[in-house]
Amino acid sequence: MFEISAHTRRKRRAELLARGIFLSMTLLMVLPLLLILGFLIWKALPILSLDFILDNPSKGMRAGGIWSPLLGSIYLVFISLVIATPIGVLAAVYLNEYARESWFTRVVNLAVVNLAGVPSIVHALFGLGAFVLFMHIGKSILAASMTLAIMTMPVIIASTKEALASVPISFREACWNVGATRWQTIRHVVLPNSISGILTGVILQVSRAAGETAPIMFTGAVFFKAIEEGNLFAYGLFDQCMTLSMHLFTISTQVPDVPDALPYGTAVVLLGMVLLVNAVAIVLRVYLRSRKKW
C-alpha cells in the first residue's frame, strides 16, 4: 500500500530539479557581488587608511588620497537630495492624496515614469543647457546638484507615492468622519504612518546620486582640484568640485602610471559610502516599523 508509482517518482525528480535550478540561480546572483567586494577590498587593502581619506590627490593623481573627490561627492549627494526631496515628496502627496484621476494627473504620472527612464547623459545635457548656460549658474556644485536632483526626483515621487498608498484607507476614513480636513488627515495620520517608506525611498537615491558620472561631468565636476584638507566646508556652492565616481574614471583610464591600489581604494570608499547610507536606511526602517503596528 502507498508504494511510490513511476509517475510520482518522475514528479519528485522534476520537483528536485526545479528547486535545484532556483537555488543555483540565487547563488549565481549573490556570488558576483561577494566576489566584487572581496576582490576590491583585497586590492585596496595596502592603501586604505585614514590618511587616504583625508589627503588630497597629489603628484598628478598618482599618489595621495581622495579627500577632495570624497567631499565633492558628499556635497553633490547632500545638496541634490535637499533640492529633490521636498519637491518630490510634496508632489507625491498631492498626486496621491489630493488629485482626482484626470487627464492632468495622467499626464503627470506619465511624465514621472518617463523621466525616471531618461538616460543620465541626457540629464547631463539638460543640466548644461538649463542651469549652466541658460540660468548662468556656470559649472558649479549647485548646477551639478540641480541636475542630479532632476534625475532623482521622479524616483522619489514614485517611491513616496507607493509609501503613501500603503497606508490603509480606513485610517483616512476615520479622520474624514470626524471632520478632519485633508491636510489634517495627511499630517496626523498619513505621513506618520508612511514616513519610514518615504525616507527609505529617499535614502536609496543616495547611491544613485553618488554613483552617476555623466550628469555631473558637464555641469560641475572637474578633473582635479585641491582643497583644504580636513575642512568640511572647503567647497562653496558655486565652486566646481571633484567627485569619487569621476575621479575613479579619471585615474583608471586617463592618467598613466597610477599605482594599482589607488583606483581600488577609491572604489572601496565609494562603495563603502553607499553601503553605509543604505545600512542607515535599513536601520531607520526597522526602527520606524517597530513603532507602528496594524
Binding site: 470626524v178 496626523h188 507602528k292 503596528k293
Partner: protein, 258 residues
C-alpha cells in the same frame, strides 16, 4: 435650523451616480430623531451609498454626482454655506471593520477635539474629562482606564469598535451612522454593541446599515428596505417584518432572494 425638525434626516428625490452607474434612484426618506433606523436590503442595493450621503463622505471616494435634496436637522446639506467639516462633526460614522488610528486609546478619543480646536486652547484637564465621559458612555472606561496609553490597534475587536464609537462622542454629534458595525465581530460582541446602540438611542439618532435581518429586527425602531437603488418600503420595524406592504419586501424577509 430655526425650528427643531422632528426628523433628523430627510431626503427628497435623491439620485446618485458613480460615473455612469446610478446607485440611488429617487430616494425620499425620513429618519426620525433619537431613534434607531435600520437600512436593509441585498448586497449592492445602495444602502451603504445612502448612508454615506448623510455626511457627504461619498464625495471623498471619487466620481460621484447627486441630484435631489438632503436635509440634516432641517438644514439642506447641499446649500453653499454648509461646511463639510461642521457637517461631519455633527454626523459621525462607524465602519464595518473597527478602524482605530494606530495611536493610543486616549489620543483616539480626543482625536476629533484635536482636529477641531487650536492647540493652545486645549487644557489637559478638559481632555481627560472628555476621555472619561466618552469612554464611560460606551462602557469602556472601567476596562481601559488604566490602559489609556496602550495602542488602540492592540485592543480586542469589540473594544476597538466601541472605541470608534467613543471617538465620535466628544464632538457632540447628533447623528451616528453605522455601516454594518458588527459584521467583523463574534456573537457575544455583536450583542454588546447592540446593547450599546440601544443605550445611545434617544441621545443620538442612529442609522444602521445591516445585512443581518435579525439584527435589524432586534435593534431598530424603524426600518427601510432598499432594492436596486430604490427605497421600497419604510415602516415601524415590527410592522415591516410582520405585515410588509410591498411584495418585494415580503419576499426578501421571507428569504426568497438576497
Amino acid at each position: 435650523m430655526s425650528t427643531p425638525a422632528q426628523h433628523s434626516i430627510e431626503t427628497r428625490d435623491l439620485n446618485l451616480w458613480y460615473g455612469d452607474f446610478q446607485a440611488l434612484k429617487g430616494i425620499s426618506v425620513c429618519i426620525p430623531r433619537g431613534q434607531i433606523t435600520g437600512l436593509i436590503g441585498p448586497s449592492g442595493c445602495g444602502k451603504t451609498t445612502l448612508l454615506r450621503c448623510f455626511n457627504r463622505i461619498n464625495e471623498r471616494y471619487g466620481d460621484v454626482r447627486t441630484t435631489g435634496e438632503i436635509d440634516v436637522l432641517g438644514q439642506n446639506i447641499y446649500a453653499p454655506e454648509v461646511s463639510l467639516i461642521e457637517l461631519r462633526k455633527a454626523v459621525g460614522m462607524v465602519f464595518q471593520r473597527p478602524n482605530p488610528l494606530p495611536i493610543s486609546v486616549y489620543e483616539n478619543v480626543i482625536f476629533g477635539i484635536r482636529v477641531h480646536s487650536e492647540r493652545k486652547n486645549l487644557k489637559k484637564s478638559d481632555l481627560d474629562e472628555a476621555v472619561e465621559k466618552a469612554l464611560s458612555e460606551v462602557g469602556l472606561w472601567e476596562d481601559l482606564k488604566d490602559r489609556l496609553n496602550v495602542r488602540a490597534t492592540s485592543l480586542q475587536l469589540e473594544q476597538q469598535q466601541k472605541l470608534c464609537i467613543a471617538r465620535l462622542l466628544p464632538l457632540k454629534p447628533d447623528i451616528i451612522l453605522m455601516d454594518e458595525p458588527c459584521s467583523a465581530l463574534d456573537v457575544e460582541a455583536t450583542l454588546h454593541i447592540e446593547d450599546l446602540m440601544l443605550t445611545l438611542a434617544g441621545r443620538y439618532t442612529i442609522v444602521i446599515v445591516t445585512h443581518n435581518m435579525a439584527q435589524a429586527r432586534r435593534v431598530s425602531h424603524e426600518c427601510s428596505f432598499m432594492l436596486m437603488g430604490e427605497m421600497v418600503e419604510t415602516a415601524r420595524t415590527q410592522d415591516l417584518f410582520l405585515t410588509p406592504r410591498d411584495a418585494r419586501t415580503a419576499d426578501y424577509i421571507e428569504g426568497r432572494y438576497g
